[in-house]
Amino acid sequence: MQVFTSVLVLGVFIEIFIVNDINSHKKRKANSMIGLAQVVSTNSISTLRFQDNEAAKNILSELLNVAPDITHAVVFDSSGKIFASYEKLGADSLTIPATLNDQEYVYTEKQLYVKSDIVNDHDRLGRVVLEVALTELIDTKAFEYKLAVTLFLIGLAFSFFVAFIIQAYISRRLLKLVDVMKAAGETGDYSKSIPDDGKDEISVLSRVFNNLMQQVSENQRRKDEFIGIASHELKTPLTSIKGYLELLNGVEEKEPNKQFVQKATQGVHKLEKLIKDLLDVSKIQSGQLELNKQEFDINQLLDETVASFQIVSKTHRIIIEGNPGRCIVVADRQRIEQVLINLLSNAIKYSAGAKTVMVYSKKNEKDLIIQIRDFGIGVSKSEQSNIFERFYRSKSNSVHVAGFGLGLYICREIIEGHGGKMWVDTEKKGSSFYFSLPIINI
């Protein structure tokens, strides 16, 4: 943009310079020709008095030696008739512009016309009119424009060259800044800073950025500290509550007391899961979700998880289909189990009234794809991209389902942390949640 503006300004200045130069050239030319016409008119006084055409013609033809660009020179008598004339060889016929009567000189496109009255003792004897070809002026004009274009191009090239060097220097520093920003965004490590001691705007930007990074880093440290303390402080009383409820459950036989205890225990389990989820989210956000990866057979984990889930679920039958046998992945077993449990419990939660949940396990060359299909309320197309966001709760559900809207977000982050993908598809009835994991082919 700056280069463009500079070039435009340069162009305008060159144009002004040329126009100015041409105008002053025109004025000089007109003055010198008027001077010449006056000399001729003075010399023509006697020729007019004595009606000596030949002498007048001679005077006019001598003009050729003085000013070779004069194409016509005419002496008119007092009645306006041609008294004597001179025409340069090869010149076009003479047409005097009417406006010359009122002005001393007139410029047309290719000619200059000047006049001078022949006056002797206040007696107007006639007039001298000169027609001058402007070849010299046209040549000068062409030359100046050529020069201007050349200068303009040189200026343009030079400014691009300078801009290129400056831009490379600026870009390098800006890209470095962008790299650090990107790295911080991806890794969650805000402790890096950019050394820049300069005094220009980019240095100021770098310093402001460094300060910002420091603040973020400090806030993150405080947040982590807070989460550590909060999770400890929340879990300690929860341990007591849970422990006492378990004791009570062991000793209480009477109904409905036992039922109350069990209800309270369910509440504690929910609370416990919620605290775990919040902790997971905060770990994901600060890039501290560590995956303890090891080799294991994911289909065995799938069988085990479904089996233990089946014991708890009294409403749905969970059917595994298409189990392709042993399938080794390098992953965090506990975290993958967490994903499976989350998807299975969602499938049951959101399909009240249905009786089955299907689980498919498919293997291709690189990945294993697990599909968990329910026959419940489904996910509308418009919500498909939102349900993996934090704190997103489906708005189309007529049934209220408890939860914080963190489960799917955590699941997707866990799967993506393993290099896999997670997505959802709407079925004719219900929905299918999929996730893929890279497998090791043995």
């Binding site: 999770s231 879990k235 509550i241 849970k242």
Partner: protein, 120 residues
């Protein structure tokens, strides 16, 4: 059969009472202390078969205390179970030579299973 003796160290009084009740109900002889400074003295007097030790103790790290227990020839043989509300702290529990780690809030069945496994 003599009752197995368990020492519980935690700075939270509620947890201590709960542990005492739970373990007694499951036929263990229990001693609880809330300050880690008393630990050596209690081990000498009580002579526990197993120690359950909180990681975040007021003013000390349970993992360091565990290491000290394991370094002394007099106490090295006693199995130690670390427990904490911060599951992160349990990641490298083996470095402090503890036998197991339990995250709070624990399942009673898990706690009993872990205790029994380490007593045998």
């Amino acid at each position: 059969m003599t009752m197995k003796k368990i020492l519980v160290v935690d700075d939270d009084a509620d947890i201590l009472v709960l542990m005492q009740l739970t373990l007694k109900m499951h036929d263990f002889q229990v001693e609880v202390i809330s300050t880690w400074q008393q630990i050596n003295e209690t081990i000498t007097n009580f002579n526990p078969d197993l120690i359950i030790l909180d990681v975040s103790l007021n003013g000390a790290d349970g993992r360091d205390i565990c290491r000290t227990i394991k370094e002394s020839p007099l106490t090295a043989h006693i199995p130690v179970i670390l427990f904490s509300a911060n599951a992160e702290l349990g990641k490298n529990f083996k470095e402090s030579r503890a036998q197991a780690f339990i995250a709070k809030p624990y399942e009673l069945s898990d706690l009993l299973k872990t205790i029994k496994r380490n007593l045998n």
